[in-house]
Amino acid sequence: MKDGDVKGTIQATPTQEMIYEVRVHQAMTKQVITVAPEDTMEDVGRVLEENRHTGMPVVKWQKMVGIVSVRDLMRCYREGRSLQPVEQWMSRDVATLYADEPLVHAVQKFERRGFGRFPVIDRKTRTLVGILTKVDIIRCLLQHLEIDYHDLEKRQYVPRKWFLELDSDRTTLSLWFHVDGANFEKAGEVSSKLKRNLQTLGLPPDAIRRIAIACFEAEVNLVIYTNGGELAAHVEPGRVTVNVVDHGPGIPDVERAMQPGYSTAPDWVRELGFGAGMGLPNIKNCSNEMKLESKVGEGTNLQFSVLT
């Protein structure tokens, strides 16, 4: 994987990611109606009816000891023993979920076990902290989907897509900037703006980085050596070409200027962190093509392109 690549090749859909990321405690109902083991089955019947539930956990000292459902209640009534305590009728072998488990585990358990609800237990304290039904899962996923949908809408707005789809023999989008000479405080501002524009256009991060570094070096050169100039970036499908033009003083020996380490910069430039003789070599390094024309007394014309 190259630097700048955002992710590997295997990508889960946002919905799959979501179901792995959401935890059981985010979906569960926290207010759990419970009964005590010594309550009677008649009590159970009443509580279930009042709350329109089909089952509930049996809890003693905050720990869950079983679960009792409408099925248990029917068995008990059939045998005419509704005054017996819950602990004689409840199921003790209870499938539970941990609060910090991913919701996807819960979905799988519902499928495998065919239960209507799972009590949720805190992994450390082993106490009952909630209950999860299929309705809870659906409600929680819908809430998350709604949030994700808004994110997705924002993320999918990639202008590059429409840019690439424009039907013409040649499409170019040009961004023009003026660079002030000798205004060192602002050296970098234009490259910064350009970089953000290229990000808005949705170009690949690695290409943006190379264009930004090359532009920054060119911009600094304009500020240090000239009395200002123009920087224009032409964005085409598959390529960005940058032209940097100034009107003086020109480079006497272009070949030497291209050598790493060669610099004519005065000390004050070095104090500002530049003039190490790496500007032009850096631009060459970052670009796929570079052309430099210069005439002393007339100015310099630099062009470089980066394939995107």
């Binding site: 570094i213 500002l272 962190g273 530049f274 190490a276 790496m278 500007g279």
Partner: protein
């Protein structure tokens, strides 16, 4: 190395806090010459420098570096701080000199560009 460990190792103060301190910083470099930094340094790195001008922040922005640490007790210009805040970068300050800062981080496992 985590940003938190870098801060601890350099006994640095946080000037601009644009990231979670659990952020992983992959590599580091130390230089006062920005072109040298731009020439080699790969993304997601820490830049140790004595250059406190806005260009230190612009360099970090262009090269996708996430953290700049000013050495020798220097503090960044107000404009550098403003730019870093706007761009969500991390700016740190340490009283240690450049050489010692690099040495301490290297000893703790942070590597340079030629190695990773």
């Amino acid at each position: 190395m985590k940003l938190r460990e870098i801060i601890e190792t350099l006994q640095a103060t946080v000037v601009v806090n644009g990231h979670d301190q659990e952020m992983e910083v992959k590599r580091g470099c130390g230089s006062d010459l920005m072109s040298d930094v731009l020439h080699r340094l790969k993304p997601n790195a820490l830049l140790l420098t004595g250059l406190t001008t806005p260009q230190s922040v612009y360099t970090a922005e262009m090269a996708d570096l996430s953290v700049v640490c000013y050495v020798r007790g220097k503090t960044p210009d107000a404009e550098a701080v403003r730019l870093a805040e706007e761009r969500g970068l991390v700016l740190l300050c340490t009283t240690l000199p450049l050489f010692e800062s690099c040495g301490r981080l290297y000893a703790k496992g942070l590597r340079g560009d030629s190695e990773i």
